[in-house]
Amino acid sequence: MAVASSDTAIRTGRIARTFIYLVLLLFALFYMLPLYVMLINSVKPLSEITGGGMMNLPDIWTLEPWRKAWSEAQIGVQPTGLKPYFWNSIQMVVPAVAISTILGALNGYVLTKWRFKGDTILFGLMLFACFIPFQIVLIPMARVLGVLGLAGSTWGLVLVHLVYGIGFTTLYFRNYYAVFPTELVRAAQIDGAGFFQIFWRILLPSSGPIAVVSVIWQFTNIWNDFLFGASFAAGDGAPMTVALNNLVQSSTGVKEYNVHFAGAILAATPTLLVYIVAGRYFVRGLMAGSVKG
């Protein structure tokens, strides 16, 4: 599972190596190109963009599009910019990530150290829930949120993301705790420690790495969600992705591409930051869902 272990024993000749480096660099360009285009055009005045020259550096550098995207652009009824929607997303992400990670840790603890008959089937049912196409739950969810009075609100989205995130967080902690020595738990039990004491004193202190994985995974998934946001919180309570889409798709007035790009980068910044700071764990997290731990 560790990405940075031994290299292959395969040896390659000089021509082959040149070819390999060339391909690798070409792909690096391919992956960087859209980001470069977005960045470079988000600091140009609109006239330079519509005049062509997408790849050129700006003649006049300006931060005006960024300011406009953040605090002025017309997204809802008011020209508020993306700012309020950014905070909506923060308010949605923080509780949803925290609660789902805590529940995932407890579930993983129960499913590995307090096993009972049928626990694998229950876990399987939780895991399958991660992979359902969410279209299958949209209609009843809309009804239930309406009945609970949570339609269009950030708390409604917190609930939605909590429910559909638990499967993954449980998976991560279950795989992690599965290799944790059960003898330690048994010994503590004989010493009279209870369920929560064992969790708090023995498992939790060594759960750092997997907690990071779970938080990053949940953060990126929930921040990047569009389907639930668009279905259940289209108005003032909309998250950042929905607001960005409204900004980009709005058909009124001139298409301010530079503002769209600044907005897109703003929407991408939190997950990119998380990725830059903890990218190593991000990879590990992405793979924990597929490769056995």
């Binding site: 040896r11 190596r17 049912l125």
Partner: protein, 303 residues
């Protein structure tokens, strides 16, 4: 395997012992309750709706298989299925091919691997809405790549796929491959790093060429990575929704409609909830056909 009874007070279980026995199940129950209601209960409800005459709001007049037979007669649904076949097929094959190639190349003691790997991977951290916005513009013939080539002097260059009914679906493939192929690379790279070098060295002694080493020894050993990549890509493909919304909006015309966008528009904008529900059920069945055998095998092996 079941360790339910703590070693203390085995003869006459007092209240505390019995409580200890129940606590794990009590802790697990809120999550299970949520999953049962919000996942399986909701699935049951949607399946039920697919047999009713629901239009703008759920209603409970039973119509049997009518929604399904209507659905299969809709050209809109047929288009979205054909698009899904093209999209999923190409997306899975191209991502796997690029991912495997990059992983093999990166595995050759490459200088700067530490720089390249994150460059390949970062698109995975972005929202599909951001990806769609970037590519939509990049592919736009008026201001994007085509225009750049024209200003660079290549005036006959033409690249208008995103505006072309016959080719627009391939731009969705392109953007989706851009987003996920780096992740597939990481999966294969992890698999490659787990391969025992001793076997390779022995085969090299016997004079095996690199090509044969990969074809006969290394790639066969990557089977689990291939399987995981397939499962993940297949389920991502079926769920693809935001990317189409941001990149093409399902257009031009209906050229890039997928089942996910079909379901959304029939349910929420065309007020044909019964048909929308039926299409969601078919999506679920497709994913279940892939996921259930996979999860079954994964969970069984662990015993």
């Amino acid at each position: 395997m079941a360790v339910t009874d703590p070693a203390v007070g085995a003869s006459a279980p007092d209240f505390r012992t019995r409580l200890q026995h129940w606590i794990p199940k009590i802790v697990l129950s809120p999550s299970l309750a949520m999953i049962f209601v919000f996942v399986y209960g909701f699935i049951a409800f949607t399946v039920y709706l697919s047999f009713t005459d629901s239009r703008m709001l759920p209603s409970f007049g039973w119509v049997g298989w009518e929604n399904y037979s209507k659905l299969w007669r809709l050209s809109h649904w047929e288009i979205s299925l054909i698009n899904m076949a093209i999209f999923a097929g190409l997306y899975i094959v191209v991502c796997t091919a690029i991912g495997l190639m990059l992983a093999i190349f990166l595995d050759q003691k490459i200088r700067g691997e530490g720089v390249l790997r994150p460059l390949y991977l970062y698109p995975m951290a972005l929202s599909f809405i951001v990806t769609g916005t970037a590519w939509k513009w990049f592919l736009d013939p008026g201001i994007g790549l085509e225009n750049v080539m024209h200003t660079w002097g290549w005036t006959s260059f033409s690249f208008d796929w995103i505006k072309n009914r016959d080719f627009a679906i391939y731009t969705v493939v392109l953007a989706a491959v851009w987003q996920t192929s780096g992740f597939v690379m990481a999966m294969f790279l992890a698999g490659l790093r787990g391969i025992d070098n001793e076997i390779l060295k022995a085969a090299q002694m016997d004079g095996a060429s690199n090509w044969n080493l990969y074809r006969r020894i290394i790639i066969p050993q990557l089977r689990p990575a291939f399987l995981s990549a397939f499962v993940i890509l297949a389920h991502l493909a079926i769920k693809t929704f935001d990317l189409v919304i941001a990149l093409t909006g399902g257009g031009p015309g209906r050229a890039t409609e997928l089942p996910a966008t079909f379901m959304y528009s029939y349910t929420f904008t065309r007020n044909q909830m019964g048909i929308g529900a039926a299409s969601a059920v078919i999506m679920l069945m497709t994913i279940a056909a892939i996921m259930i055998p996979y999860l079954y095998a994964e969970l069984r092996e662990k015993k």
